[in-house]
């Protein structure tokens, strides 16, 4: 995992020369949506084989000779011991010291990776700044692979591509940082929860140090697998839904009065859905709130959150819209007048 994990894979563009952006040898199927034409004829002569996946030597293999060596042992298990839990062999504490030390060593590796990501990020920011300066022509050759430095058209084109690519990478960094912050928060909250349970010797990131597994004395709570087995699938799904709401916020559904609703989910891309209820009452409500609210500032504020890639969905505004448009116009006019009257 961290061994080979660096700024790689999808950062294809940097691959051929690690120090320069190279847009010369881009795979057009992957990055330019080159069309693949459908034919009927059999053809194994000119197989497309960029990765080597179609050559038979590349067919994956597991150590098959090993795969069938499973045997069930005859065993006489000792009776369940009447002793206390602390008499059970292989207590957590046995492993504590060694695992803790090894974890610390592994963390050093992770930190090297982390440092590299931060450095790379610095470089990207510098490059971006240089490319956005008026004398970018002077700098681009040290950032991007240029075929003909006298071809201004190429320079211009590659500047655009490079800036786009750098911004993409910086966005990736931002996503990574956001996930890191969230993880740190999760760990902190978990440790807090544990220490309040009276298990204050346990810290996430450490092995239990009091010799007991923290699960020894825990009664199954309502979140345990066991108790969730007693729920029906529907109940369980509803439970997950509300957990999700609590963590990420409400799903907002805006009725558009034309048989459609705009659903804004804090996790998914927003989308339009069909709504059966086309009542013209102005009660856009959140899908999960038990009582319908009016357009309170709370809901409106939520509309301001960043919307992840909006997915275009084809839809046509229903006939209702035209039929009612005149009514609505006059209604709005009335409303405006009344508001106006209030303010005066």
């Amino acid at each position: 995992m961290p061994n080979e994990r660096k700024l790689r894979s999808k950062d294809e563009i940097r691959r051929s020369n690690p120090t320069l952006f190279n847009f010369e040898k881009i795979n057009k199927l992957l990055f330019r949506d080159q069309p693949i034409k459908v034919t009927s004829s059999l053809n194994f002569e000119n197989l497309y084989n960029e990765s080597g996946a179609s050559s038979s030597s590349q067919q994956p293999k597991v150590p098959t000779s090993k795969a069938n060596s499973v045997v069930i042992r005859e065993e006489l298990l000792p009776r369940k011991s009447k002793g206390k839990a602390r008499d059970v062999p292989l207590q957590d504490s046995n492993y504590e010291l060694f695992h803790k030390r090894m974890k610390k060593e592994e963390k050093k590796m992770t930190n090297i990776d982390r440092q590299r990501i931060l450095n790379e990020c610095d470089t990207l920011e510098t490059s971006l700044r240089l490319l956005e300066q008026h004398d970018w022509v002077k700098h681009i050759r040290s950032i991007t692979q240029i075929y003909d430095p006298h071809n201004y058209k190429e320079l211009e084109y590659k500047k655009v591509l490079t800036i786009y690519e750098i911004k993409r990478l910086l966005k990736k960094y931002a996503s990574w940082k956001k996930r890191e912050d969230q993880l740190m928060l999760d760990i902190k909250q978990y440790n807090h929860k544990i220490s309040h349970r009276g298990e204050n010797t346990f810290n996430a990131g450490d092995v239990v140090s009091n010799g007991h597994s923290i699960h020894n004395d825990l009664e199954p709570n309502s979140d345990s697998v066991e108790s969730e087995f007693s729920l029906s699938l529907d109940e369980l799904k509803n439970k997950r839904k509300s957990e999700r709401c609590q963590k990420y916020g409400q799903i907002i559904k805006l009725k558009l009065h034309n048989g459609l609703s705009l659903v804004i989910d804090p996790v998914f891309p927003p989308k339009f859905i069909q709504t059966l209820d086309t009542s013209t009452k102005t009660t856009p409500v959140t899908s999960n709130s038990p009582e319908p609210k009016d357009t309170s500032t709370e809901e409106v504020a939520k509309l301001g959150i960043e919307i992840p890639n909006i997915e275009p969905h084809n839809f046509t505004i229903s006939q209702n819209w035209k039929l009612h448009s005149k009514e609505w116009k006059s209604e709005r006019a009335k409303l405006r007048n009344s508001l106006h009257a209030k303010h005066n």
Binding site: M1, N46, P63, K66, I72, Y95, M109, E180
Partner: protein, 370 residues
Amino acid sequence: MGKSSEFYGVLEQPNIRRICFGKYEIDSWYGNAAYFGADHKTLGYKKITANEKNGQLITAMRKPSLNGHSTTQIDNTTDTASTTPQSQSSQYWLDKLYVCEYCFKYTDVEQECQAHRISCTFNKTYPPVGKLMYRDEYSQYIITKVRGFENVLFTQNLCLFGKLFLDNKSVYYNVDPFDFYIVYGHDPTDDESSNLKFKPMGFFSKEVLSWDCDNNLACICVFPPFQRKGLGNLLIEFSYELAAVTAGQKFSGPEFPLSPFGKISYYNYWSKKLTLTLYEHIIKEGIISFNLTEIANLTGFRREDILITLEYMKVLHRSSRKRASSKGSTTKSEDENVYFSKANFQKWCSDNHIDVKQEKSMLNPNYLVL
């Protein structure tokens, strides 16, 4: 391969002769140095305990290698007294390792493991840790999510055990930034008269802090006694369902490079899924041209994974006109067209006994509780 080029924890050959995993005895597929102390024969936790008493500490230390990558090496310079493993007559560092099939704790003493398994706190009808994410009421398979930092020792031991069947795993102890998805089921060889227990049968890990946010899976492993039940497929399908409700993972896939087990499982899964997709949306619809993004939209797969699978299926070819390749090869000629051959596709289906109208998946989306 000399000692100096050993990657951390990774060995070319299995270094434990046999693994006793609960009631099963199995071979490991790969070596795992991370279980051991620097003497390459004592389990690390036993070594450290013994040496602690003598006031000296010897562990398998790691340091960054010279090429600047954070790949690490076993450094046994601190342990000059020990014999080098290469000079030993056997490749094995240990004859048998005993692993609890419920919590993955390990030892080289059979009695310890036996006694432990009986009273193991994880030896329960239902898994005592984790959150239910999938509950198949028909097949009786469930998948739970266990966060590394919430169950450190359990997930560390899971990783260490998994390494015996994975060639490329390199995180065993620093589990904090990983989530683990574990598939449990009833073991058909268990005594049905006694209380049937959900046993862990395999897992995949997902790195919360992976640099590529489109990685939906880091390592995947189904334990040998439970292979050939389609569980690898189930876990992979699940990983895509999970990605579908994870921000930023509209298109996603496994971390590369894949282990041999991962490669087989993925090529199998991708090719089947793509076969169905191509049949439904391209062939049946009479489409004359498509691009990878369109297929990505239909499947949630990354474009590069789609391309590699289409190559694997041998259904893509270039123009049959041979192009006189110019020396500089900077001239982009017109015949760089890529074709999808319906006839090749037909052959792929018949060679692999895929009936596009019959294929069923392991995962039933109705049972997802994400």
